[in-house]
């Protein structure tokens, strides 16, 4: 896609995202926020100084919601076009599939950040002001890590989100149950670094030093999958 096509087409992609995923993100985010955070808010108000409550609640919200919202936003980026057959008209035009879906991947991140800001606005109104920087950084890092992986699966299966849950679930389980096993020494370099999400979030909220290597591993893992997805789109026939 050339610059003219990108500049003209991005607003349409954002609009599609708003209708297709934005509403779902706000609904799920709002529902989770209300059902989990509100009781927490009531309890924390009695235990903590008022100025600390908002920060603590936001930390809980980010830990609970960001991964789920990323999966909702990023699932089916390629798979939905394959399932719906929409690729037929899209790619009869002078458009390269990897470029189209790379743009879609970035638009999805933009839409996710906008949805996060809307949810944060509700949080600010109902609970109080907290800087949006940490949640936004966590959304970007988690999106690149999980979203990149789910993008790769989306290039060849409609069960992209299920594959992601399997892979990340296997990683979390093996880290918990088999960390002392010999095979885990190899597996830990292959399986996604799920624990780095928690580490990054902890450091960001605590204001302590960020593990740069661990964060690079987390983000790089997803970015490698994303790039592998682009290679699949370039080499594999989309209707196969």
């Amino acid at each position: 896609m050339n610059r003219r096509q990108i500049a003209s087409y991005v607003p349409w992609q954002l609009w599609d995202f708003a209708l297709d995923r934005g509403v779902a993100l706000l609904f799920v985010g709002g529902l989770m926020g209300f059902s989990v955070l509100w009781p927490g808010y009531v309890a924390l108000r009695e235990q903590m100084a008022p100025e600390l409550v908002a920060g603590k609640l936001l930390e809980i919200a980010v830990a609970q919601q960001v991964s789920i919202l990323v999966v909702i936003a990023a699932s089916g980026i390629v798979a939905n076009d394959r399932i719906g057959g929409y690729y037929r008209f899209l790619f009869s035009k002078p458009v390269r599939m990897p470029a189209y879906y790379a743009l879609q991947f970035l638009v999805t991140l933009t839409g996710l950040l906008l949805a996060t800001l809307i949810l944060l606005s509700a949080f600010w109104i109902l609970v109080g002001w907290v800087s949006p920087m940490v949640p936004l950084v966590m959304v970007v890092a988690t999106y690149l890590a999980l979203g990149g992986t789910i993008f790769f699966f989306s290039t060849f299966t409609r069960f992209d989100w299920a594959m992601l849950v399997l892979l990340w679930g296997a990683s979390a389980l093996s880290r918990t149950l088999a960390a002392d096993k010999a095979w885990y020494e190899v597996a830990r370099w292959v399986l996604p670094p799920t624990h780095q999400i928690g580490k990054l979030q902890g450091a960001l909220f605590a204001g302590t030093e960020i593990d740069i290597a661990g964060t690079a591993w987390l983000v790089g893992y997803g970015v490698i999958f994303f790039l592998a997805g682009l290679v699949v789109l370039q080499r594999k026939a989309i209707a196969e």
């Binding site: 896609m1 050339n2 003219r4 096509q5 003209s8 087409y9 349409w12 599609d16 209708l19 297709d20 719906g84 057959g85 929409y86 690729y87 037929r88 008209f89 899209l90 790619f91 009869s92 035009k93 002078p94 458009v95 390269r96 026939a237 989309i238 209707a239 196969e240």
Partner: protein
């Protein structure tokens, strides 16, 4: 313009079962030709078009469009394509869908509106422009699919079952549109079950069955003459008493109509001349089957 060289396509399932959808398909389609593809259900037409668009990779052989790999050609130049199933995001509105496709077709921004308006006018979508795709009837959806294929003056048009779901008025209109698109620099491929349509629109028609090219049939009147015995239905306004003398082998089918078998059109004309000289008045002479239909029956029958 388009070259299929010994193309084969085998689908394999995860359980190891395989289906040979296209086998040893070779064909050259020159620039400027309107080329038809006919075949029964499951003959391999859609697979062949999928391979031509680069949506499927051939298992054997090669396909070239203007000397390039199909995807390379499309990514560089774009084509006009109407798929058998018109699949457009159901949430999109008709006009917005055309605008999106116009952007992707790399139509300059200042010309997008004109291109969309022209396509809407050509396909009569004015009253449906604000409707969402899911609210369109089958025929209107088909017209929207055609409209997106005609947004730009493409050098290559591939239309898969283009009149599927169209009413008779729009079927005729479509034929006029295709007629207007004929150009020495534009190649059109039309896949259809409708042999009459292909007979009217295409210069040549490939008949495929069981994934194999059975024969390529020319549709011009010259090609008609080259075919063997033909059956015609002749309607008489008057002079029935002379008819059986000129056509003793004819079979009366009622209401002043007869079916005759002739070796070629020259013999038919000679005998019609005799009939008219004897005082017979001919109201109509219609082939009971087009050459294409006859060839199709023979080809599919032979391979079955």
């Amino acid at each position: 313009m388009i070259e299929f060289h010994n193309v084969g396509k085998t689908y394999r399932s995860l359980t190891g079962r395989s289906v040979r959808a296209v086998d040893g398909f070779s064909l050259d389609i020159p620039r400027g030709e309107v080329f038809g593809i006919a075949g029964p259900n499951g003959a391999g037409k859609s697979t062949l078009i999928g391979v031509l668009l680069g949506f499927l990779h051939p298992s054997d052989g090669r396909v070239r469009v203007n000397g390039m790999q199909p995807r390379s050609y499309i990514e560089k130049h774009g084509i006009g394509y109407l798929s058998e199933l018109v699949t457009i995001n159901k949430r999109w509105r008709a006009e917005a869908a055309l605008t999106r496709y116009a952007i992707l077709a790399d139509i300059p921004r200042e010309r997008i509106s004109d291109s969309v308006e022209k396509a809407i006018a050509t396909l009569g979508l004015g009253e449906h422009r604000r409707k969402s795709v899911k609210a369109l009837s089958k025929g209107n959806l088909q017209r929207l699919g055609l409209a997106q294929a005609l947004l730009r003056d493409e050098e290559l048009l591939i239309l898969d079952e283009p009149t599927h779901g169209l009413d008779p008025v729009w079927t005729q209109r479509f034929r006029d549109i295709v007629g207007g698109l004929r150009d020495p620099n534009r190649t059109m491929i039309i896949a259809s079950h409708n042999l009459d349509e292909l007979q009217r629109l295409a210069d040549r028609v490939a008949i495929i069955d069981h994934g194999r090219l059975q024969r390529v049939v020319g549709t011009s009147s010259l090609d008609q003459q080259s075919v063997g015995a033909l059956t015609y239905r002749i309607s008489l306004a008057s002079g029935a008493e002379h008819f059986m003398r000129v056509f003793p082998e004819a079979a009366a089918v009622g209401r002043g109509e007869y079916e005759v078998v002739v070796s070629d059109v020259v013999a038919l004309n000679r005998r019609l001349g005799e009939l008219m000289l004897a005082g017979g008045v001919v109201a109509a002479v219609v082939p009971t089957r087009s050459v294409l239909e006859q060839q199709f029956r023979e080809a599919v029958g032979e391979s079955a």
